[in-house]
């Protein structure tokens, strides 16, 4: 019961205290306008290059923008504990670590879903992206799965914030490399093999591929392999994140660096 309380109440309080972009003056430009401009930019870039349809870019970027919350949000939420000097106190508690950190992911997952849905809706209104109405629930489900796996990856990035002073040094490359490696803007078969291999171990790659097929009319069951791969990648990153958090917590205690800013 205590772990459940830490998971829900602790996660919510942490989000309210540490997620720096909650104010509308931050949230709207950063979490809503930026993703829409990203989608528009790549869609027009694709038109100019003659690469793929608008639909390809709207689905790819519309889902990838969940990383705004999944990667940056998690980095802020975990790394923020260091900046506000609460990390030492937090890790001095006997709280269940899984509940502690997974609870911090949950509000970011909800936020990521909202950002992605907004981006996809904007793409539907502004570009040539017209998925069949029947495919919308399946696309929504894929957005939720992708956001979960992306937040697990973000938690691993945030864990590095326990070790490195500026977590954005990791979050920024992570976000931008996803644009390149996850098939967001370049068809995977046009990338070198080594990039495809890295991409297949990152969140979003399989989920975006599944969402593209669903948006084109395929059923969810026909892309189940891709969906399960995405879930497996998310689960793997959750384990990686948990291990990193525990390792860096122990190392931070040993080296007395938890409060180094």
């Amino acid at each position: 019961m205590t772990s459940l309380r830490i998971f829900t109440v602790g996660g919510l309080l942490s989000y309210r205290a540490l997620f720096n972009w909650q104010s509308p003056t931050y949230y709207i430009p950063t979490m809503l306008a930026h993703p829409v401009f990203q989608i528009l930019f790549f869609a027009y870039l694709g038109r100019f290059a003659g690469t793929e349809s608008d639909s390809f870019f709207v689905v790819g970027n519309g889902i990838q923008v969940c990383a705004m919350a999944g990667v940056y949000g998690m980095a802020l939420t975990i790394g923020g504990e260091r900046w506000t000097h609460t990390l030492g106190s937090l890790l001095a508690t006997p709280a269940n670590r899984a509940a502690l950190f997974l609870g911090r992911a949950l509000p970011n997952v909800a936020n990521g879903v909202l950002v992605s849905v907004f981006g996809l809706a904007a793409g539907r209104l502004l570009l040539d992206f017209h998925p069949a109405p029947g495919s919308v629930p399946s696309i929504f489900l894929l957005v939720v799965i992708c956001t979960l796996s992306c937040s697990a990856f973000g938690m691993a990035v945030g864990a590095l914030g326990l070790r490195f002073r500026d977590v954005f040094m990791i979050a920024n490359p992570a976000y931008f490399l996803m644009l390149l490696l996850c098939g967001v803007n370049v068809p995977l078969d046009r990338l070198p093999d080594w990039m495809v291999t890295i991409g297949s171990g990152l969140p979003l790659t399989h989920g975006i591929a599944a969402a593209r097929e669903v948006a084109a009319g395929a059923s969810l069951s026909s892309v189940s392999t891709l969906v399960w791969k995405e879930i497996a990648v998310g689960a793997a990153w959750t384990i990686v994140a948990y291990v990193l958090l525990r390792v860096f917590e122990a190392e931070g205690r040993r080296r007395a660096t938890l409060e180094t800013v």
Binding site: A33, H34, F41, F48, A49, G50, T51, L180, L191
Partner: protein
């Protein structure tokens, strides 16, 4: 002479300061290379192979805007966080002259993005780079830098008054890339966006660099870029006066 010295010292200080910021080094070094690689594969996968070299130059210029936007936006915020903003405002020189070298320094470092991107694409992707007007290719990037710095100055003024103005810099990266035609020709965008592009000095600066590389009349673009930059200085000067006064009245200068 004192103004020139102030600008020079500010510029050198800013460049030194930024080259010691890990986050800024990422923005001006790593991010442009990621975008260069992305655009290379994206355009290579497309049906118009002739656009690959066009995109290569565009990707390099995109990096200049990123570093200008990021560091110009941060110019005043960072002073505020370090507790030096009030001292700078209270100093005898006009605050605009103190801030301008900060934005110019950010844009100047952006030159590295252009160079690194072109070198990256030459070395790793074998893309040729033979400017049609080599001499003008040397002249036009500094003009572009000046135009970007002037635009950065206008953006920076808002940070004096609004603490949350850096949300603006989070948002402006992609739209300015779009409406200035840095990598996507303006003719592909809705007509009304061209009007926005025309009043942005970087549009003309980007065009000058592009024409120096691919051919075309460079001087009109350079002229437009410089003229619009001058207009930005006037706008920034007026806005800075208003914002500085309001921030003093409301005692919000040092509030982070």
């Amino acid at each position: 002479m004192r103004v020139v010295r102030l600008l020079w010292v500010g510029l050198v200080f800013r460049v030194k300061e930024l080259t010691r910021s890990g986050l800024f080094i990422f923005t001006s070094v790593i991010e442009p290379l990621i975008f260069a690689t992305l655009t290379y594969y994206l355009f290579n996968a497309g049906s118009k192979p002739e656009t690959v070299i066009y995109s290569a130059l565009g990707a390099g210029m995109m990096g200049i805007w990123s570093s200008t936007l990021f560091a110009s936006g941060g110019a005043i915020s960072w002073q505020r966080w370090q507790g030096t903003l009030e001292l700078l405002v209270a100093a005898p020189p006009a605050f605009l002259l103190v801030i301008f070298p900060l934005t110019l320094g950010s844009a100047t470092i952006g030159l590295y993005s252009l160079t690194a991107t072109l070198a990256w694409e030459r070395l790793f992707f074998g893309l040729p780079f033979d400017p049609v007007h080599p001499l003008l290719f040397v002249v036009s990037p500094p003009v572009l830098i000046f135009g970007l710095a002037a635009l950065g100055l206008v953006i920076a003024t808002s940070f004096v008054l609004y603490r949350n103005a850096n949300a603006l810099s989070n948002m402006l990266e992609f739209p300015v890339w779009l409406v200035t035609g840095v990598i996507v020709p303006l003719s592909l965008l809705p007509g009304w966006t061209s009007v926005i592009g025309w009043v942005l000095a970087p549009t003309w600066g980007f065009q000058a660099v592009r024409r120096a590389v691919f051919g075309g009349d460079v001087w009109p673009s350079i002229g437009m870029c410089l003229a619009l930059s001058a207009v930005y200085f006037v706008i920034a000067s007026v806005l800075m006066g208003i914002f500085e006064r309001r921030a003093r009245e409301r005692a919000t200068l040092s509030l982070a």
